[in-house]
């Protein structure tokens, strides 16, 4: 292993030095000469006809540069959707227009109606207050089941209804599934809600648009997880700017969690306005704006059923889900409840027959899209709550019932299209049982009871599909993009190298982990390797970071490019050492000729590549720079088993998490410390969803949880010391590093364990409650215990 850390070393994160010393360079730190500020006037009603937007009084106010309304965008494209789902009748989903600024109607609280560009933000805001907006209010549709009833007010007049699509998966299996339910010895049914969440990255969204009249080039600085995706969507579909005239930079980004994948109106606006006003235009979201304009997450209402035979083997699963799309289709919204959710319904179990129905519904709420886990937490929550409920109905141990139905042979083709390459669910469950100290639980429960508290224990398993994704497969499923990743490795003459990657780091630690891989491959110090990301002018076309794909897909591209570098370097070394390239070995940064003592240092070869005096110029180009694009052949399938132990105060309904154990299988691991940190963060968000977070609307479409006064974010004191293990490793079989990805596991795997533990605690207090919806607040627990 290289002396400062190759694969498997818990190298400290080099980027943290700049983050923790205030030297990060975030989008809001970018201030361009002559920049003006934009303030968006947003709708304060959920649904209404926009009868007039009168800017006349505002135009002349101090500092106003220009005021824009929907009219200014009439000749401009709308916000595009990146995924087209085909419904169960073979028809494409209903896809409404999505204007940059509202045209004719407003469809959710927070929708931008007008934008004031002014010398200062204060002046922009003052002028926005002088804009007179006339809205004829219409009844809002908030509840999904109401929204799809006949005669419900339509969010979009041009559509036939509020139903975006009615998706059946796998439609051909439906009859066989129904038959299995008829034949079942036992059927367990569960109705539940997967609560709507707001991602709340620490850094709110920011966009700075710039335009150069000298060369006609547009630049957008933005808080994005995938600058090339923004360049493509905004350039090609919204503003009609060719890619060679559009640069998108996403510098340091303070957390994304999915909500910074999507292309937003504010980005298109700032790019457009910079040219129209001929000066840079900057927007920085306030936290209040973030609550009503960042895409939300989750929001499913589901009925799920499990059929079992007389020996408690799972024979079929049937689900019926309503998935909220909000008022418009956000970039990847249609894919979340379908291909990222239905394909996960097998979980860790060999259920032979599965049918998933999803109705995606438009409502007068903020658009909903991917949030850490995206579809997979929704699938896991249903399934793992259902299996627990079945165990209690049947009077069998929940762990035993899971073990009995585990998939044990790999590769395993599920009945929901995907094929798991590897996994060992028995091993992670064994590990979990050891970590969770199940033997000691009874004594801990006694201690709690002595204090007047109830104690509960809950487990769940999870499987996720990461390393998104094979392009040809997702193309068939409706993706309007490829999902490969790219890397260029540029070796400098003196031996240091730069990796320009399409993956984007916004907290994941790529700048540390990626060099560890190359350091290992070449045998040089990681400090000689620099990672460049987040700028379309500096990196090859890449798809960015989400779906736990960076190391599995981006890392693989980097490995492929580095392999090309090594192959070429060996040719150069062979020439200098007068040996055939096949005899050249690279170890610890030295090239040597097998079976001899002839050798050459890495730096001698890199220098020769750029000072090609003694060089095979007739056969080989000078230079040492290679690019690779990597398109995965399958998803990766991280999996694991989680256990949660809670204490419940029966008088107040307060639940506290006393222990949390997580046994994960992420395949091979590059930096264990970073992986542990990713799991910790994911667990905080999963536990936040289970116990605290709730994005709620009233029936008029007003956001009730519109600030931190009402939206409960988990804090350190709400969380236990986690016990995290990733020693169970079944390497991925189809990528060069054998890695699976770890970014979303914690958020996917934790909510069911928490809820299962709460219900167990209630049962120990004599209350057999079949289900309780998240967030499991004290008020809800108390109410459930009164029943």
């Amino acid at each position: 292993m290289p002396k400062d850390g190759g694969i498997g070393a818990s190298t400290k994160r080099r980027e943290d030095v700049r983050f923790l010393t205030g030297n990060g360079r975030y989008t809001d730190d970018i201030n361009l000469r002559g920049q003006a500020y934009v303030f968006f006037l947003r709708s304060d009603v959920a649904h209404g006809k926009l009868t007039s937007v009168d800017t006349s009084a505002a135009e002349g106010m101090d500092g106003v540069v220009r005021i824009f309304t929907g009219k200014d965008f009439e000749g401009v494209g709308g916000m595009p959707c990146g995924w087209q789902v085909t419904d169960k009748h073979g028809q494409p989903m209903q896809e409404p227009g999505h204007p940059v600024l509202a045209q004719g109607k407003v469809r959710h609280v927070g929708e931008p109606i007008a934008a004031v560009v002014a010398e200062t933000l204060g002046q922009a805001r003052d002028a926005a207050e002088a804009i007179v907006v006339d809205i004829e209010e219409l009844p809002a549709v908030i509840n999904m089941k109401d929204a799809v009833k006949d005669g419900a007010p339509k969010v979009h007049e041009e559509l036939t209804s509020n139903l975006c699509y009615d998706w059946g998966f796998v439609e051909e299996n439906k009859e066989a599934v129904n038959k299995a339910f008829e034949d079942a010895a036992h059927v367990t049914t569960l109705e539940l809600v997967n609560n709507r969440l707001v991602a709340n990255p620490m850094e709110p969204r920011v966009a700075v648009g710039d335009y150069s009249r000298s060369d006609g080039e547009h630049t957008l600085y933005t808080t994005s997880q995938n600058p090339h995706v923004i360049r493509l969507l905004m350039g090609a579909f919204v503003l009609g700017i060719p890619e060679h005239k559009l640069r998108v930079v996403a510098p340091d980004v303070g957390g994304g969690f999915g909500t910074k994948i999507f292309h937003y109106q504010e980005e298109a606006f700032c790019t457009f306005a910079a040219k129209a006003c001929n000066r840079p235009v900057k927007w920085t979201s306030s936290r209040s704006e973030a609550f009503m304009s960042d895409a939300h997450g989750r929001d499913h209402v589901t009925k799920i059923e499990l059929a079992l035979d007389g020996d408690n083997n799972f024979t079929a699963i049937r689900t019926d889900t309503y998935a909220n799309m909000g008022a418009y289709l956000s970039t990847f919204a249609p894919s979340v409840p379908t291909w990222l959710h239905g394909t996960l319904m097998a979980g860790n179990y060999k259920t032979p027959l599965i049918y998933v129905n999803v109705k995606a519904v438009f409502t007068n709420t903020v658009p909903v899209d991917a949030y850490r886990g995206a579809g997979r937490p929704e699938a896991t929550f249903q399934l793992e709550r259902l299996v627990d409920k079945a165990a209690h109905e049947l009077g069998v141990d929940p762990i035993k019932l899971r073990r009995q139905n585990f998939i044990t042979e790999f590769p395993y083709a599920t009945p929901v299209a995907v094929e798991y390459d590897t996994g060992d669910y028995v091993a992670t469950m064994d590990k979990l049982e050891e970590m969770a100290d199940i033997a000691g639980f009874a004594a801990r429960r006694k201690e709690s009871e002595a204090k007047g508290r109830l104690r509960g224990f809950g487990v769940n398993c999870y499987i996720e599909a990461c390393g998104i994704a094979p392009s040809n497969l997702v193309g068939q499923l409706g993706a309007r993009a490829g999902l490969y990743e790219s890397a260029t490795v540029r070796v400098n003459a003196t031996g240091g190298l730069v990796v320009m990657t399409g993956s984007h780091s916004h907290g994941q630690g790529h700048e540390t982990a990626f060099p560890q891989v190359i350091a290992e491959m070449i045998g040089i110090d990681a400090s000689m390797i620099e990672i460049v990301h987040g700028d379309t002018a500096r990196t090859p076309m890449g798809m960015g970071t989400y779906g736990s794909r960076s190391i599995a897909v981006g890392g693989s591209a980097m490995v492929r490019a580095t392999e090309k570098i090594i192959a070429k370097a060996k040719k150069i070394a062979g020439h200098i050492l007068e040996a055939s390239e096949g005899d050249i070995e690279l170890k610890d940064g030295m090239f040597s000729v097998a079976g001899t003592d002839k050798s050459l240092a890495w730096g001698d070869v890199t220098l020769a590549a750029y000072v090609p005096h003694n060089y095979p110029l007739e056969d080989l180009e000078p230079g040492l720079e290679e690019t690779a694009f990597y398109d995965p052949s399958n998803f990766t399938y991280p999996s694991g088993a989680y256990a949660c132990e809670v204490e419940l105060d029966p008088e107040t309904g307060q639940v506290t998490i006393e222990r949390f154990s997580a046994a994960d299988d992420f395949g091979n691991i590059i930096n264990p410390m970073i992986v542990t940190g990713q799991v910790h963060g994911g667990l905080a968000q999963g536990i936040g969803q289970a116990l605290m977070e709730n994005c709620a609307y009233d029936s008029d479409g007003q956001l009730l949880s519109a600030s931190y006064m009402d939206y409960a974010m988990p804090r350190a004191s709400d969380l236990p010391f986690y016990d995290v293990d990733h020693s169970c490793q079944t390497p991925c079989t189809h990528n060069p590093l054998g890695v699976k990805g770890c970014g979303e596991a914690g958020a996917i795997g934790s909510p069911p364990a928490v809820v299962n533990a709460v219900l167990d605690a209630m049962r120990s207090g004599g209350k057999d409650v079949a289900h309780i919806d998240m967030p499991v607040t004290p008020s809800r627990v108390w109410a459930a215990m009164q029943g």
């Binding site: 209040s288 709730n694 949880s705 939206y711 108390w782």
Partner: protein, 262 residues
């Protein structure tokens, strides 16, 4: 925020003078007012800062045995300096918000604002305190007039609060998980001549005295004495708890406060 002028008087007299200007508003710690201004929900033309008035700061014992706290005293100072004289009160101050809030927020600001979920109103009402202003003294029982409403007149400034010291007191606070204000909190004070119980966070009418509990506890100061009682009133119902739940919590918090003292 909208634009405003700032006055920085150094005496109560000058502050009262400054408050006579049109649309003047006092500002102390700004922990409530600044967010309100940032959200453009208030538009004072003049902010009269009370933070430079030394005579409004500090904690002292009066000759008649009451603990007197200047209206401009921060929560941090109260937490530290009231502890020796009135630990039950110091503990209220110590648990408000976070250190940043406690280092700026003041008792006068909290009592003037009378948020239905604030802590100090419960302590003041539960202690039977007297609110002293620039021109009069108001008994706590006459001061709190409902959610965000007090007996203060336009331009009147809370200069001091005088707390009689009970034999024992305890403040039991159940947190609203997002804001960390009380979802429901109860202040119980045991005096030689009876018990006072003040409840915050629960009612749409703001802080209130739970008289049934006071009577029961005055007769028998034990957690059992309140076991069968149920708080009545127009309880708040929101995302964090139903009205029934809040009514129930009033009982639990009272019982626990009593148990902590008894």
């Amino acid at each position: 925020m909208y634009n405003f002028d700032v006055e920085r008087p150094t005496s109560i007299v000058d502050a009262v003078q400054a408050m006579s200007k049109e649309e003047a508003q006092p500002i102390s710690g700004g922990q409530t007012l600044i967010p309100t201004l940032k959200a453009r929900l208030a538009a004072p033309s003049v902010l009269v800062s009370l933070t430079g008035i030394e005579e409004m700061k500090g904690v002292r014992m009066s000759d008649d045995g009451r603990l007197c706290i200047g209206g401009g005293t921060t929560h941090t100072t109260v937490a530290a300096e009231a502890a020796a004289h009135y630990p039950g009160l110091a503990s209220v101050a110590a648990r408000i918000g976070d250190p940043a809030v406690r280092n700026r927020g003041t008792i006068g600001g909290s009592l003037a604002n009378n948020d239905p979920s604030a802590c100090y109103p419960a302590a003041a009402l539960g202690s039977g305190a007297t609110i002293v202003t620039n021109n009069r003294e108001i008994a706590a029982d006459d001061y709190f007039l409902g959610m965000f409403t007090t007996a203060l007149e336009e331009g009147e400034i809370v200069t001091e609060v005088k707390f009689p010291i009970p034999q024992a007191a305890h403040y039991e606070k159940f947190l609203q998980p997002a804001s960390r204000f009380p979802l429901v909190a109860v202040f119980v004070a045991r005096f030689s001549d009876g018990v006072r119980v003040a409840v915050t966070g629960a009612s749409n009418d703001g802080v209130f005295r739970w008289t049934e509990a006071e009577e029961a506890l005055s007769a028998n100061f034990s957690a059992d004495a309140v076991a069968g009682l149920k708080a009545e009133g127009d309880m708040i119902s929101d995302l964090h708890g139903t009205a029934e739940y809040r009514a129930h919590l009033v009982g639990v918090m009272t019982k626990r406060a009593v148990a902590a003292i008894a």
